[in-house]
């Protein structure tokens, strides 16, 4: 069941033929880790080595398969074929419509598969060191494996329903892992908050999904021209109007985007992600930095044809404009808050939110390749930052407050070196680091956006802030004098090695996406890539390079001037706090978004719960009580009539029954008999009416 893809003009679309080995066995990529999770869960005794081995082994196997799949797509690309192979099947049948599931192998899923399995495997290995002393070690690897399986399932989904199911399952594992140390009330609360906040987006996503299904009659993205992301369906979606000036495509696109807003921590649903740092640090690295939170970005990339459908002359749609603005606002909003945080992981969490904003903006303005490139580079350097933070926390005896660290570069040289590389990549340090290339691609497209220059300025400002807060953090943690209580120590090799490998990629990945050889873009978009070094001499590139240099050096410079090597005492107020106390307080308190939700959404929820309860007890219950009272009066009357008029054998018979039957006598309430009598009476009346009415 191969797909013809017409959009990639430069390449031959793939011609249908027998399904390749890679796509036939693609389902094993998610299935193997899920089976491993099940096996670990059912192990009789908590067996540490076995469970870690199962988890790592299964993900390693998935990684090999992912490489095979990637190689297959890459080979197709090299020979000028835009590979898009699918395997679809009917899950259930409702009426004559089939609810179909399936998986797809195309450049987008291949790239994502490689990233998730590779980064995931490194983090799994790191976890064996980080979690070595945890009493629930086996359960940790069970959840981690389940997560990996669900995430990989999400990546290969060719059905929006299957994607949604995996989407919810990664949400579940995120919930379980944030609340991994469930005995801490803060962890339990954070887990619930994460699940609920993302579910707000998810129910809108659900509506978008059922709408898409109802409108196009299919759940499949690609299905030989009959999928919802293909020409015929998109044509129908553009011509259907949904009110508010939106086409059905636009409205459905926005509903699906709402799901992405929740999962990818976009403003205004970003509030759960910083709290999610309650989970163990490898979880933060894998789920809340590299993979799951990027799933929202991936989702938008996956349904990009829908987002883009019916584009105006300026190449954009309402949905894309909304995505761009939400992304840009998130990028700056979160970066601002990151400045004033003191928890090493929270700084990174806000940074993640901000970078996810960049990805969204990149998707909205520049298209799939721009957003996805930043997703991939970010996955490497941000997971490295988290692993570094974990190493620091580990080395500092579970200390997370940067004010109680300092001078760690002497104690933890490996951690420092790798952290510094990741930090420079995140700041977008020119030319050398992958983050520079991916962020510049976003800035470049934002600069040329026809709708507004607003996102460009926001994203540039955000880049200054990024350089600033990362320099502040690194100064606090690695420079100056040690301010902790117990001496810090370097982490074991099993933790350092994955960090070193990630660091390597934080640098090298830039090579596949430079303007001189934009391999990544051509691979995703299905056209050839030619090396052209002269791009580096063009004024446009030099302008952008100049801007980037100014931005990065400005951010790093100011922060270094304020914090570098100063080593303030832990209790001393922050340098910025002294300068602008009010602004600082606002940023430190996360710009009061949580407080705002407390007095609006949460208060509304609680109030309505009380209203519902009050309605139940007073109004509905009251009406019933009133009716009951009226009937009691009637019953009294009935009894009078009964006793004085009827006074017959019926009554007596009932009484005999009640004294004879031991059961009824024990009741001694009298009421029961009345009801039974009523019931009997009803039948008698029924019979009487029937007999009377059926007389000829």
């Amino acid at each position: 069941m191969l797909i013809q893809e017409g959009a990639a003009a430069a390449f031959h679309p793939q011609i249908a033929g027998p399904a390749s080995f890679a796509v036939r066995n693609l389902w094993l990529v998610p299935a193997v880790p899920i089976v491993a999770a099940g096996v670990i869960a059912l192990l009789k005794q908590p067996r540490r080595k076995l469970s870690a081995g199962l988890a790592i082994g299964s993900l390693g196997f998935s990684m090999l398969l992912a490489f095979v799949a990637f190689a297959h797509v890459a080979a197709g690309w090299a020979s000028g074929v835009a590979v898009r192979e699918t395997v679809n099947f009917t899950w259930i049948q409702a009426g004559t419509a089939s609810v179909a599931l399936g998986w797809v192998l195309d450049p987008l899923s291949a790239v994502m598969l490689v990233m998730v399995t590779f980064v995931g495997l490194l983090i799994f290995i790191y976890s064996t060191g980080y979690m070595a002393h945890d009493e629930n070690f086996t359960r940790f690897f069970c959840f981690l494996s389940l997560f990996a399986g669900a995430m990989l399932g999400l990546v290969i989904s060719n059905s929006i329903l299957l994607l949604f199911m995996c989407w919810e399952l990664v949400g579940l594992t995120s919930y379980l892992l944030i609340g991994f140390w469930y005995h801490k009330p803060s962890a339990a609360a954070a887990a619930k908050k994460a699940f609920m906040t993302t579910r707000v987006g998810d129910v809108l996503f659900l509506l978008g999904m059922v709408w898409l299904f109802a409108q196009t009659g299919t759940l499949l993205f690609y299905n030989n021209g009959a999928g919802s992301m293909e020409g015929w369906a998109l044509g129908g979606l553009i011509s259907a109007h949904a009110g508010l000036g939106l086409t059905a495509a636009g409205a459905i696109g926005l509903l699906i985007f709402a799901g992405a807003v929740g999962k990818s921590g976009q403003f205004p649903l970003h509030v759960w992600l910083p709290d999610a740092m309650e989970g163990p640090t490898p979880v933060s690295a894998l789920i809340h930095a590299a993979t799951m939170v990027a799933a929202g970005v991936y989702l938008v990339a996956r349904v990009y044809p829908l987002m883009q459908a019916g584009a105006a002359a300026n190449g954009t749609t309402t949905a894309l404009i909304v995505i761009t603005w939400i992304g840009s606002i998130t990028a700056v909003f979160a970066a601002l808050i990151a400045i004033a945080q003191n928890d090493i992981k929270r700084i990174l969490a806000y940074s993640t939110v901000s970078q996810l904003g960049y990805m969204m903006a990149g998707l909205g303005i520049g298209g799939v390749a721009v957003g996805m490139f930043h997703l991939i580079t970010h996955a490497f350097f941000k997971s490295l930052l988290f692993l570094g933070a974990g190493s620091v926390i580990h080395g500092c005896h579970e200390e997370q407050d940067v004010r109680h660290m300092g001078g760690l570069k002497a104690y933890m040289p490996w951690t420092f070196a790798t952290y510094a590389i990741a930090m420079l990549a995140l700041c977008g340090f020119p030319l050398l680091f992958s983050g520079f290339w991916s962020k510049d691609a976003i800035l470049e497209s934002a600069k040329g956006w026809e709708i507004s220059k607003g996102p460009y300025y926001l994203l540039v400002f955000g880049a200054v802030l990024t350089a600033f807060y990362m320099t502040r953090q690194v100064s606090y943690v690695f420079f100056g004098k040690w301010r902790g209580h117990h001496p810090a120590h370097e982490s074991p090799r099993v933790m350092v090695l994955p960090m070193a490998i990630l660091a390597l990629f934080a640098v090298l990945l830039g090579l596949i996406g430079t303007p001189a050889w934009p391999w990544f873009r051509s691979f995703l978009e299905g056209h050839g890539a030619e090396a052209n070094l002269s791009v580096f001499g063009e004024p446009a590139f030099l302008m952008l390079l100049g801007t980037s240099c100014i931005v990065v050096f400005l951010g790093i410079g100011i922060a270094w001037w304020l914090y570098g090597n100063r080593s303030p005492a832990a209790e001393e107020p922050d340098a910025l706090e002294k300068a602008v106390p009010l602004v600082w307080a606002g940023l430190r308190d996360r710009l009061y978004v949580d407080e705002f939700y407390d007095v609006t959404v949460i208060a509304f929820y609680r109030a309505w719960a009380r209203v519902a309860n009050w309605l139940d007890r007073r109004v509905w219950g009251g009406i019933v009580a009133g009716v009951a009272l009226a009937f009691r009066g009637l019953a009294h009357l009935d009894r009078l009539i009964d006793e004085s008029w009827v006074n017959g054998g019926f009554d007596k018979g009932c009484e005999e029954l009640s004294t004879g039957g031991g059961l009824l006598a024990r009741m001694q309430t009298g009421r029961v008999q009345t009801y039974l009598r009523l019931l009997a009476l009803a039948f008698v009346v029924l019979a009487a009416i029937l007999i009377w009415s059926s007389r000829p």
Binding site: I92, A94, G95, E168, L169, G179, K192, W211, F213, L615
Partner: protein, 505 residues
């Protein structure tokens, strides 16, 4: 003439079991378990014998009182058979959960089996009189089970439950008397055919004037109480929380389905036109049931009351879909919307029965371990003391909140898939129910299982082997049906198509 009377035997079986249980005193539990197991096997046998085209099969007919329109007429399609299987599963679970009943065990198990017979009878009857007998028959054991073995406020709870349901039954009865007076028939199939040709309305109007809407309201009222639909639900929280847990399992798991079943077997086929005319107010009530049911659950502090209101919310989705599909449509796409909604309703009936019964079972186990406590605030951190307990109950709760991979998601997806194009406003407001339910259930997990473990619960026992063994198939079924819903839907879909073809709105 009808072949092997399997449905009759299936209905008689629990009655025989009940009689033996009554007489066998201490061994009543064993008798009940065996009876329930045989009944389950029988119901599964029925499930395998369904006609492939989705029509009604295993028909048994015999003259009873022809002059009164009363006929012994049994038969099942996938809808009825699925309810038989559900009733049998829930009864088995309830019997198994009853092992702490020491007061009059013979009577207790006997009544439970009579209740099962009532359920079987009402899910197989195709004649109103016959159906109504069993509908009422199931009420009596339920009443006594609450009244005799219930909690401290069992008296008023049982009374309210009984009277409320009786009032609904009277409304039903009156409506059907009018129908019979006008048509001379009480046969569901005959009446459905008359309704779909339009003859029914003409005959009733000719006999009694323009009363069809009122008859529809009477029938709806009877079912609205049973499901229940807000505001006819006030008996439910008291009955569910005061009934002994095994009985709550039966009430929530099986008896509440009688109402939904009645809507599908009786109300929609016979009063489709009238319901379609009242569709908007009915949809409003369904949405209120979904949203306010969930919201009322959020205000409760007693686990049983929480799950009771949550039950109202979950059956609200059934009502939502039933009323949303009551509209004349044309074209394959629109018919597929109806089919998706109806598949969703039938599957949701089964899923909710399974999950709700399991949840009340877990509450029973909590009460057993804590000396009767079941307040939301009474516990904390239990997951540390009882990890397997927490894990399995967690799965049941995630099933209830509609997590993909577990059973309820499939039915809720199909319901929203069907309802959205039929009434996008109702669907859009109802997703609030999904949100609130999730908040409620996660709060339960948070308060009961997370946080620090208090000293006095440090010895809270985890599930023992026998309990794990009993729960494993139930939890396994939740996962299985979440992944392979076609086990049920492959048979249900033909019935859905068949039903829709005979309904006229």
């Amino acid at each position: 003439m009808n072949g092997f009377p399997i449905l009759t035997l299936l209905t008689v079986l629990p009655l025989v079991g009940a009689a033996i249980a009554l007489l066998s005193g201490k061994h009543a539990r064993g008798v009940a378990l065996i009876t329930a197991l045989i009944a389950l096997a029988g119901s599964l046998l029925v499930w395998t014998k369904l006609p492939a085209d989705g029509s009604i099969g295993l028909v048994e007919r015999a003259a009873w009182a022809p002059s009164l329109g009363i006929e012994y007429h049994l038969g099942v399609d996938a809808l009825g058979a699925l309810m038989l299987v559900l009733s049998a599963i829930v009864t088995l679970m309830a019997v198994d959960a009853s092992h702490r009943v020491h007061h009059q065990p013979g009577l207790f198990y006997g009544l439970i089996l009579v209740l099962e017979a009532g359920l079987f009878g009402s899910f197989t009857a195709l004649n109103f009189f016959h159906w109504f007998l069993f509908w009422e028959l199931s009420l009596i054991p339920a009443f006594f089970l609450i009244k005799l073995w219930g909690g401290p406020r069992r008296g008023p709870a049982a009374t309210q439950f009984f009277i409320y349901t009786m009032a609904g039954s009277v409304a039903l009865l009156i409506s059907f008397l009018a129908i019979f007076l006008s048509t001379g028939s009480m046969d569901f199939g005959t009446l459905t055919a008359m309704a779909s040709s339009g003859a029914l309305g003409q005959m009733v109007t000719a006999h009694l004037g323009n009363v069809m809407p009122w008859l529809a309201i009477g029938v709806l009222a009877g079912f609205a109480v049973k499901v229940p639909m807000i505001p006819f639900h006030t008996w439910l929280p008291a009955a569910y929380s005061e009934a002994p847990s095994p009985v709550t399992m039966l009430l929530a798991g099986a008896m509440s389905k009688m109402g939904v079943y009645g809507l599908l077997r009786i109300a929609l086929p016979i009063f489709g036109v009238q319901i379609a005319a009242m569709r908007t107010p009915l949809l409003v009530l369904a949405v209120i049931t979904v949203v306010m049911g969930a919201w009322a659950a959020a205000a409760q502090k007693d686990l049983k009351r929480i799950f009771a209101y949550s039950s109202v919310n979950h059956l609200g989705y059934c009502l939502l879909a039933i009323f949303a599909l009551a509209i004349p449509v044309a074209g394959t796409a629109a018919q597929n919307n109806q089919a998706a909604a109806l598949n969703g309703v039938i599957l949701q009936m089964f899923n909710h029965g399974l999950t709700a019964a399991a949840l009340f079972w877990f509450v029973a186990m909590i009460q057993l371990r804590s000396g009767g406590l079941r307040g939301l605030e009474d516990f904390g951190g239990l997951r540390k003391a009882a990890p397997v307990f927490a894990g399995l109950m967690g799965i049941a709760m995630f099933s209830s909140l509609g997590l993909p991979g577990l059973n309820s998601f499939v039915s809720e997806f199909l319901i929203f898939r069907g309802v959205f194009p039929l009434s996008w406003v109702a669907a859009s407001v109802s997703v609030l129910g999904l949100l609130i339910t999730a908040a409620v259930l996660l709060t339960v997990i948070q308060k009961v299982f997370s946080g620090p473990l208090p000293e006095h619960w440090a010895k809270f026992p985890d599930l023992h082997h026998s309990e794990r063994l009993a729960l494993a198939p139930v939890i396994g079924l939740m996962i299985l049906l979440g992944l392979v819903p076609q086990l049920i839907l492959n048979s249900v879909n033909p019935t859905v198509v068949n039903l829709l073809a005979h309904w006229r709105f």
